[in-house]
């Protein structure tokens, strides 16, 4: 039958696509790690960058990546989770709730470069700080916010209503219910959300070029919020765009490999604690 033959052809075709996609993904990873891992010496990972000669490292940039991530989470987690809790537990069906929800969706669609320009306008120009870690972290937290709000709202909504009822019936205030029952139940989902956000923030460059700058301070690790703070991602771009060092390509490849390894590590960090928590909560002892 003709349709049977077509069906078999289609199946082969889709298998082809599936394998092609898998191949692209694997090839990508192999290419980056293959080119870059050989350059990942201790000198490279922890060493100071060079402006003119070869042999520079990315130590300060590595530190800055995590420092900026940490700061941006510090600012965005309270407000992101706060807004998410409000949407899930307090908001009524009215125009104000719709406004909040639409604003969050719009914020989620803003291209990073626009965040970067906004941050530059605010912190570098209007406030006159110049390129600072603080400016970069605050702008980066704008990127984190919509995801945190959405993840918080979704995971809270997934908590069964029976918990809320049981807690209320025992005489708890709303905040007690949220604090002692809802958020602990939603924790695995929240952890996943934060890890997702962290991964994005670590890889971000467009925002930071315009707010935290392309140079690192002379003293590393520098905790000064007003120092400029080039991160790994920014360094990768900068070294290719304007790098004067002769081993720019090797530095770029090493940096890329390092970034991918960090993202891989983060992804592994999601799977394990979330699953552990889920097991503890549902009482399965396997």
């Amino acid at each position: 039958m003709k349709s049977k033959a077509t069906d078999r052809l289609a199946t082969a075709f889709f298998w082809g696509i599936g394998l092609l996609i898998l191949f692209i993904l694997v090839w990508f990873l192999w290419h980056i790690l293959g080119a870059g891992v050989p350059h990942l010496s201790w000198d490279f990972i922890a060493g100071e960058p060079e402006e003119m000669i070869e042999g520079g490292g990315v130590g300060p940039q590595l530190f800055n990546s995590f420092y900026l991530l940490f700061l941006s989470l510090l600012f965005s987690i309270p407000f992101g989770i706060g807004a998410g809790v409000w949407l899930s537990e307090y908001a009524k069906k009215n125009w104000f709730t719709d406004l909040v929800r639409i604003s969050t969706e719009m914020l989620a669609s803003v291209p990073s470069i626009v965040f970067g320009l906004f941050g530059m306008l605010l912190f570098v120009t209007v406030f006159g700080f110049g390129f600072t870690i603080l400016g970069g972290a605050l702008t980066l937290s704008l990127l984190n916010l919509p995801v945190l709000v959405r993840v918080t709202e979704e995971t809270l909504r997934a908590v069964p209503t029976s918990y809320r009822e049981a807690s209320a019936a025992l005489g708890a205030t709303k905040w007690q219910t949220i604090r002692k029952v809802l958020i602990p139940s939603a924790l695995p989902g929240l952890v996943t959300g934060v890890t997702l956000v962290a991964g994005r923030a670590l890889g971000e460059s467009a925002i930071l070029i315009f707010t935290a700058g392309v140079t690192v301070s002379r003293f590393a690790p520098d905790l000064n919020l007003f120092a400029s703070g080039e991160t790994l991602s920014v360094h990768l771009w900068y070294v290719r765009a304007e790098g004067l060092v002769p081993d720019a390509m090797q530095i770029a490849e090493g940096t890329a490999a390092l970034l991918v390894l960090v993202v891989l590590a983060l992804n592994l960090l999601i799977a394990i604690p979330s699953r552990l928590m889920q097991r503890k909560m549902t009482g399965k002892s396997s």
Binding site: S162, A166, S167, A168, L170
Partner: protein, 263 residues
């Protein structure tokens, strides 16, 4: 058992709870019509009636759980110990400590058995471990669950069977030291053996608490309650001593329901 119950009811004239001219609306839809009811202390009152008759809705007005639903309007009074719980200055959190509720489906928190029971006392400010330990043990004993779980208090409550979970929820409720227990079809999700255990438990608890139970199982109401109220379409059709209501109902509709003509 019947003779003794009748005597006890006539002797225990202290009224614990009273509903006066209560009307309830879900938006424009009226769910309860002019309910008037007096519940004596230390007794078991059963609410019976077909699905949708309003018995659960009425139960939930007694600890203001309907406040959690948007669009509900209440008209009338509910007096607990002579205080109207719908007065504007009522402390709802305090009310729910004294008037507690057990739900149709057991709903333990995803925490250890110990933490489930200790949850109530903790949110009301009790922090000392020694005190909490005592409360947990006492509540589990009262709920006839202590022997079954005393060696695994720190294990998750989700690992218990349905019947055990429901007794856990009862223990959890007892831990906050209420006066009134509201039970919303507490055994409808349980197997017959667990049902029997919960029924026995309820009869033991009658001595210290005032219990109001919604049930769609008439035999259960006849077995354990002192007083029964029959509801239909949001109206309380008849209310009186259980034995009398089941053997000699005054209203034709009650008789029809009891004999199984509908419901």
């Amino acid at each position: 058992m019947t003779q003794a119950t009748v005597q006890e009811t006539t002797q225990a004239t202290q009224e614990k709870l009273r509903v006066q001219h209560l009307n309830l609306f879900y938006g424009d839809n009226q769910a309860l019509h002019d309910i008037n009811l007096s519940v004596p202390a230390g007794s078991i009152t059963a609410f019976i009636g077909p699905s949708g008759c309003g018995k659960s809705t009425l139960l939930r007005t007694l600890n203001r759980m309907n406040d959690l639903i948007p669009g509900v309007k209440i008209d009338g009074e509910v007096l607990v110990d002579n205080h109207n719980i719908y007065a504007p200055d009522t402390d709802i959190v305090h009310l729910r400590k004294h008037v507690g509720m057990v739900f149709q489906r057991p709903n333990p928190f995803p925490m250890s058995i110990y933490d489930n029971i200790a949850y109530g006392p903790r949110i009301h400010g009790i922090k000392k471990k020694r005190v909490l330990d005592e409360i947990v043990e006492k509540s589990l004993q009262q709920a006839a669950l202590w022997n079954e779980v005393k060696d695994r208090l720190n294990k998750s409550a989700m690992g218990l069977s349905g019947g055990q979970q429901q007794r856990l929820c009862i223990a959890r409720l007892l831990a906050v030291d209420p006066d009134v227990l509201l039970m919303d079809e507490p055994t409808s999700a349980l197997d017959p053996i667990s049902t029997l255990k919960v029924e026995e438990l309820t009869q033991e608890l009658k001595e210290k608490y005032t219990i109001i139970m919604v049930t769609h199982n008439m035999q259960q109401a006849a077995r354990i309650s002192d007083t029964t109220a029959f509801f239909l379409n949001g109206v309380m059709v008849e209310h009186g001593e259980t034995d009398r209501l089941f053997t000699n109902p005054t209203d034709q509709r009650t008789e029809d329901y009891i004999t199984g003509r509908f419901g």
